[in-house]
Point group: C2
Chain length 466, copies 2
């Protein structure tokens, strides 16, 4: 049928008049890279409403050899969601919360539901969905799964991988993988959903997921502490974990420069006075009234006595806690007015965090004297957003031109310490070529063999991953 | 070299004189199925000492087209580790604990280390490795990974999949996958270790793993409660989770018949008087002295008030707690003197546990009036070991002959409720054919495509999985 039509025309017919667009204004926000570094392009935006429509689209594209880029909330930081000539498949109309089942501690949501809506749906059922990240108002569940999103609650609850019980997806063949199980245990062959999680859209389009829910923990304590060094932060982290018995929800490190930018450029008052070289934001949560506060107090008292921290402020209200978090969440945005930056999202074994920061900072200083470091992030997971800003007043473009050189220096050090060049952002189109230089041939060949087995024409997000 | 030798002779040369055996006495314990239902066979037992030796063995077998069954502690319950003519590769000499790194909350152990030794190594470093199951003195880490083992601590800590940070494995090509990372976050392509976990040796031989460690929680409370129904158990479970803020370590259900067998055949005193129809063993743990006890007391007090439980006994000592656990751990062994049984390891969504037990029990009674049900297990994970024993005094063989019929009845009901026919034991050689009738063609085809891509000659555990 319609064999005389071009593949693009057949796709348009398939999804109906309101299911596609090639209007530049409509397309623009879906083509622009988050930091506005570059623009993508696509001949056609497709907006399927159902899993069956996604299936029909992918089947047609597989037959015709038309490449597809799947896209969620367009908040990805490595270009994995931006087409360069491929057909763009947006999940924005796959936006139903299919079920919230508190008796199973599960909710089933479609790929295009934003993370924030999913969190709210859980809360309405008196449950907690822990994934949390700065872009949660826009980022979608499908994108969170495809990039195995991390964020601020990984320390206690794990990454998105740990929060997914089941997945529904359209495979590169167009067939639907009906894996929306809500089982805590199921050992009946390879766990196919694990392949789709973090595959950045290269092994299919995630259309829905069954997500784990948790009890709401109403008793919370939030504090900010002043530290002399990242090494002391790691020692404190271990104490916090041992002392609280798993109650630590977040442990986030920031350096003085990042905190000062949040004040200068966003008007956010530093949570602790005196511009200490490092601060850490600690959150604990429990179900027993008073427990989080008591555990936090024990921790901070002994840490002050032992000179492990030099100061501490415990939030006395939800508003104060929120203000502390605002400084943490502003760490990335607050750098923008400072101009060009080399940004890195590395992880190392937790024991190597301090070594990484010291070694990388010395190497960066050698490469570009005067470059300024903003280091912050989920130190409890060994994950540091290690951003290098141009020396004050120096030339924007010259500094930006050294970005790849800088990345190599920083990433060589991370990998040398047993680390990763992309802890939580994925590789996308921006980091794939670089990752090839760090992965072993066995890993790359194995990934390629799997991909080829499932997508022989390589139509799914072809410029992303290996 | 040695091209004139047979593949088996070349394998012998490769591992050296103490690296192989074909002595029937040496082989016997490695060929007998756990419940002694049948015996396997092999022309050659290989006992490699190093990952490199495993690599050389697999490479040679791949070239020669010789099939291999990898084997750990021989405690599997579905025959996945028993060869039928294949070469047998035992991990028993890959038994080193390579490193315990408390600062990273990680330990690196080889595949042939027993689960108990791994637990002990963690404890010596003042850390906790939570995987726990009845066979832990014999079962090995490699087998635990290859079967994605579950056990009694899944409710709080997850299955083996959740406890593995990195894997070293020999792929079917003979190449070594060096994936012994100790990162909490690493998004740089497909997470290949996830494919190996639960692959039952069909995608390679796991040779070592980096495992997550946790703080030791010294404050513990263990109690046994009497219940009228499984439905009440589920309600109690939800209360326990909400009330304790994640402190529930285990929630195990047992029915009266299973408890009585533990008394009759193992001399284990029931932990609670009056032979209630159901009992549950609950364990809570925390780092704050007294917290687990207080949370348990709140839970039991309100449950008694609301008539959700009819009696409760809190263990007053470690010895009492151990005695309670002994009854739970004896549930499988204590059935043996009762003769033939149809055993099932199902899971359903937690909300469907009570429905499953009621529906399955009625269906079993229709199929074989008088058959006796022993139902027990990890109800907090929706995982029930649902065992059907022959009617008292009835013919052993006639009942055993109905095993497949019984499995179909029980498994149809579990799958109809969104469940699994193998929650934690895997499929092995015993359940693979049956699983084929429940899996969708898309799932089976996808698994086959992946397997074929990595092992085109299907030399790795060829009778296991699809």
């Amino acid at each position: 049928m319609n064999a005389h039509l071009s593949p693009l025309d057949r796709l348009k017919t398939l999804v109906g008049p309101d299911g596609w667009s090639d209007d530049p204004d409509r397309l623009h926000p879906k083509l622009v890279e988050w930091r506005e570094r570059w623009m993508g392009s696509t001949p056609l935006l497709l907006l399927p409403r159902t899993t069956d429509e996604v299936s029909a689209i992918v089947r047609l594209c597989q037959e015709a050899g038309v490449a597809i880029v799947p896209q969620g909330g367009v908040t990805g930081l490595v270009g994995g969601q931006i087409p360069k000539g491929e057909v763009l498949l947006s999940t924005e109309r796959l936006n139903h919360i299919r079920e919230v089942a508190p008796d199973d501690d599960v909710m089933v949501v479609e790929a295009g539901v934003t993370l924030q809506r999913a969190q709210e749906a859980a809360a309405e059922a008196n449950r907690f969905f822990p994934l949390s990240l700065a872009a949660e108002g826009t980022a979608t569940i499908g994108g969170n799964i495809s990039t195995n999103a991390g964020g601020t609650a990984v320390l206690r609850y794990g990454t998105m991988r740990d929060l997914v019980l089941g997945i529904e997806a359209v495979l590169p063949s167009g067939e639907v993988f009906h894996g929306l199980k809500r089982l805590r245990k199921d050992n009946t062959g390879y766990d196919l959903k694990q392949l789709l999680i973090g595959a950045e859209g290269t092994l299919g389009v995630v259309t829905a997921a069954a997500l784990k829910l948790f009890p709401v923990l109403a008793d919370r304590a939030v504090a900010t502490v002043a530290l002399k060094s990242p090494a002391d932060a790691i020692t404190l982290l271990h104490r916090a974990k041992a002392e609280s018995g798993g109650a630590v929800e977040a442990f986030e490190l920031m350096n003085a420069l990042g905190v000062s930018f949040a004040e200068t450029h966003m008007g956010l008052k530093p949570p602790i006075e005196g511009a200490p070289p490092w601060i850490a934001l600690i959150e604990m949560a429990s179900a027993e009234p008073g427990l989080a506060g008591r555990a936090m107090e024990r921790l901070l008292t002994s840490a002050l006595e032992d000179d492990l921290i030099t100061d501490a402020v415990v939030a006395q209200s939800a508003a104060q806690a929120k203000a502390m978090w605002a400084v943490r969440e502003g760490q990335s945005g607050a750098q923008k007015p400072e101009g060009a930056a080399w940004k890195h999202d590395i992880s190392v074994p937790v024991s190597q965090v301090a070594t990484f920061i010291a070694t990388a900072s010395a190497a960066v200083e050698r490469l570009r004297p005067g470059a300024r470091i903003v280091a912050f992030g989920h130190v409890g997971d060994g994950n540091i957003h290690y951003d290098v800003l141009r020396p004050q007043g120096s030339d924007e473009d010259a500094f930006a031109a050294m970005r790849d050189q800088g990345a190599k220096v920083v990433h060589d050090i991370a990998v040398g310490l047993g680390g990763s060049i992309s802890a939580e952002h994925g590789l996308g189109s921006m980091k794939t070529a670089e990752a090839l230089t760090y992965k072993t041939p066995v890993e790359v060949e194995t990934m390629r063999a799997i991909r080829k087995a499932l997508d022989p024409k390589r139509i799914m997000n072809p410029r992303v991953l290996f």
